[in-house]
């Protein structure tokens, strides 16, 4: 939730242009998983800045804490012990949270006008005062990110610190990261930076190192540097080549148009049927045998 903006590139459930008098450069957060040490400073910074306090829960036997995203936990470190090659254990730690897709499934699915906004800088933001709590954003999201609050029935997720970015500073998680695994800047700069990191990793033996910026969603405004970009699933099930579900595209695409036209046609057809054929009325009195 941010201040009024004039740089909106898309607005949920809105069929007319959004206010877009201003245009800002596309921004991105780059999370370099090869540099992450799993300290969770980003989680703490997120809680601090956004003033979120999740309920203290049970330890589920792994380092993931809390165990999942929630309306009060907008980012979670996911720890995966994997053997990408036999006998070669790796501890892959991925900071999970909203990816800020260029083609956001949440925004496409949302039926409430203005509850989900995509700014021209690429941030996808929820405006909870318009949210009805229907949960369609969860249905549309290819990364399973939004969570509905049990307290107020509204959907919440990472804002990419849109309120901080609006005043020219970086997201709280990027500011606090002690190893520089999280960096923030224009998408162009971040891609350049990522390319350098990928080159370095490849030189160090990670031949499949690469950037995660899925083209199926038009790219994202949170990107990862992965040592095993060919197998994103190693990183706690990061989807390979994600796209919007064809069911969601059908639901919000051609089906809606066809159905709207269908209903309008039915009403018109009924009206003109009556006008042209007249009422269906018995012509005679009862014939008594």
């Amino acid at each position: 939730m941010a201040l009024q903006s004039l740089d909106i590139s898309a607005r949920s459930a809105t069929t007319t242009p959004a206010p877009k008098a201003r245009k800002t450069p596309e921004l991105a957060k780059l999370i370099d998983i090869s540099k992450c040490i799993g300290c969770k400073a980003c989680q703490v910074a997120c809680m601090e800045w956004n003033d979120l306090r999740d309920t203290v829960n049970r330890n589920v036997g792994v380092y993931d804490n809390p165990a999942d995203l929630s309306a009060q936990s907008w980012t979670v470190m996911r720890f995966a012990e994997v053997e990408p090659a036999p006998g070669k254990l790796e501890w892959l730690i991925r900071k999970d949270g909203c990816m800020h897709c260029s083609d956001p499934g949440c925004l496409k699915s949302c039926p409430a006008p203005g509850a989900i906004i995509r700014y021209s800088n690429g941030i996808v933001d929820f405006h909870q005062e318009h949210c009805t709590g229907c949960g369609y954003c969860i249905i549309g999201c290819p990364f399973n990110i939004p969570r509905i609050s049990e307290q107020d029935g509204k959907a919440y997720k990472c804002t990419l610190c849109s309120d901080r970015i609006a005043v020219g500073t970086e997201p709280a998680c990027a500011k606090v990261c002690p190893t520089g695994a999280i960096v923030f800047g224009t998408k162009e700069d971040m891609r350049l930076h990522a390319a350098g990191r990928v080159q370095d990793l490849q030189a160090r033996g990670y031949s499949q190192a690469g950037v995660y910026d899925p083209p199926g969603l038009g790219g994202t405004h949170v990107m990862y540097v992965l040592h095993h970009a060919d197998r994103p699933g190693l990183y706690s099930g990061l989807p390979k080549d994600p796209v919007l579900s064809p069911l969601v595209s059908l639901w919000k695409g051609v089906a809606k148009t066809v159905m709207n036209v269908g209903l309008a046609t039915a009403v018109l057809a009924a009206f003109f049927h009556y006008v042209s054929q007249g009422p269906n009325k018995e012509h005679n009195e009862e014939e008594v045998a």
């Binding site: 006008p113 249905i139 159905m259 269908g262 054929q277 009862e286």
Partner: protein
């Protein structure tokens, strides 16, 4: 002077039942259409805003489901498709042009009404199942996101078909003079019954004649 005779088509209980169903169906439909397309979101204002519409919709729906299923049980004996009904179906193009004379006589309901009610039964069940799967916050979280994607699509498609079926039903009632007053007062004229539902009319007449001979059989429905 032949006083116009009337036949009771619906009892007071049936009329109340029908109009309860009609009201809950319309409330469910209007609150649901608000989420169907942005152009219809204003309908949520009828219910106090988007959040209220979202919260109320499934409860309206539960009333509709109960009212519909009990209604269908009530009319099920008149829902069987007969050989005459199939013949009637072949006359639909001319019936639509208001030429009923060659169509076979029908019972209490014609083929179109039977098919509509049976389709609505199917749609109501589909809407119920898919609606529960996407019902926030009560049940949705218990189902996988993949299943919810299927459910939300099927829900929208069946809702479309259900609204279409309501348009057909309401229009058919408007088109057929006397049908709406029949459902409001419970009474239709014997000429109406003879014209639209001859087999049912004859059955009623037979009942009346039987009652005249054997008053103990009751059947005091013609007068």
């Amino acid at each position: 002077m032949n006083r116009e005779r009337v036949i009771r088509r619906y009892s007071a209980g049936e009329r109340c039942h029908h109009w309860l169903l009609a009201s809950s169906f319309i409330l469910t439909g209007l609150s649901g259409l608000a989420f169907f397309h942005p152009g219809l979101y204003w309908l949520s204002n009828l219910f106090g805003g988007g959040t209220w519409a979202r919260m109320l919709h499934p409860y309206f729906a539960m009333v509709t489901v109960l009212a519909f299923l009990t209604w269908f049980i009530r009319i099920r004996k008149d829902m069987h498709i007969t050989a005459d009904d199939r013949k009637w179906a072949t006359h639909i193009p001319e019936i639509m042009r208001n030429r009923m004379d060659n169509a076979p006589a029908t019972g209490k309901y014609n083929f179109g009404q039977k098919m509509l009610a049976r389709t609505q039964l199917l749609l109501i069940l589909l809407l119920l199942i898919t609606g529960v799967i996407i019902w926030q916050p009560l049940f949705a979280d218990a189902f996988s996101v993949d299943l919810r994607r299927v459910a939300v699509l099927v829900h929208a498609l069946s809702a479309f078909a259900a609204v279409l079926s309501l348009i057909v039903h309401v229009y058919a009632a408007i088109w057929t003079s006397g049908a709406i007053s029949g459902m409001l007062s419970g009474r239709v004229t014997s000429a109406w019954a003879q014209y639209h539902n001859r087999l049912w009319y004859e059955e009623k007449m037979q009942q009346a004649r039987d009652a005249a001979v054997r008053p103990d059989l009751g059947g005091n429905t013609v007068g």
